[in-house]
Amino acid sequence: MVSFDMDVSVANRKKSPDFYGLVKDTNLERIITFVVMMLLAAFHNLSRTIGVALLFAVSGSTTFVIMGAEMAVYIGFKVLRNDFVTFIPGLEGTLKYMVALVFHTVLKVVADYTGERKLFATKFASLTD
């Protein structure tokens, strides 16, 4: 719902037209897109959750190895592309790397398992202030 609301926001679309504006403008298209987005998130989260549940049924260590490997690949990808430091302004020295590690870990978990957007909405919402 947060994604939908942010996407249809006129102010967001004006300031970031390359990112916002996925949802078309008629009421019918918006309703259908909203339902499809909900279904997409639901199926995605259900698949992920069942996968993790099956792995946990096998063993906890197998679960952590597979999930950890996925996380390591993601963070390694970010580091190799020199894209590890997060957008949060004002962080310097060791702190910016510590925050980046926590940030990317949380971001990946949130994207993979919950579909929760609120944690990141504030930053994008500030574009509209």
């Binding site: 996925l22 957008f87 004002g90 909405a121 574009l127």
Partner: protein, 187 residues
């Protein structure tokens, strides 16, 4: 969830890859589950496989429906390989709105725009006097406090420092620089 595809967050390509991986991992997990002999009260792997296939098909149909419904011109954001810094720099360079341009520079980590620092300094120096005079809504004390000294023209910086001294704060100080040393009071 789709907003996490933003370049300063996950990036479109890796976000989409994660979503696809999310559909593959349950089948990998099922292969571990079905071959493992230590699991007690094991459910029928064949039935789980059918359930996973149905879920994956429903997910695939939802993806097709989603891409069929959205504006085609933004589909590229789902496979964008731009880094956060590249995205922010493009945002700065291609926007005509000072609010957006300054947000792109000072609303994100300074390392994002380090490679165009000279361009940003020139832009800020060229426009600072006009903003001081016009006082646009975004040109707030909070914004000014977030701007590094090097981005403020000499005369304006001197005035800000003098105002800070008069207010008893010493020289102007940036409000948003944080490091481990600052947190633990070493600076």
């Amino acid at each position: 969830m789709i907003h996490l595809r933003g370049d300063p967050l996950m990036g479109g390509f890796i976000f989409s890859l994660s979503c696809i991986l999310g559909q593959i991992i349950p089948f990998v997990a099922l292969s571990f589950y079905s071959t493992n002999t230590t699991v007690e009260n094991k459910a029928n792997p064949h039935e789980i496989n059918i359930a996973l296939l149905v879920l994956a098909c429903c997910w695939g149909l939802s993806v097709i429906a989603f891409f069929g419904l959205i504006n085609r011109k933004l589909i590229g954001s789902f496979y964008s390989t731009k880094t956060g810094a590249q995205s922010i720099i493009l945002g700065f360079q291609f926007s005509d709105d000072p609010a957006v341009k300054t947000f792109m520079v000072f609303g994100f980590h300074s390392s994002f725009t380090e490679s165009i620092k000279d361009e940003v300094i020139a832009y800020m120096h060229d426009n600072w006097a006009e903003w001081e005079q016009m006082q646009p809504a975004w040109f707030t004390p909070k914004f000014i406090a977030s701007v590094g000294d090097e981005f403020i023209p000499g005369r304006a910086l001197q005035q800000l420092n003098e105002a800070a001294i008069e207010a008893g704060d010493g020289a102007r100080r940036r409000s948003s620089v944080l490091s481990v040393r600052v947190i633990f009071g070493k600076e």
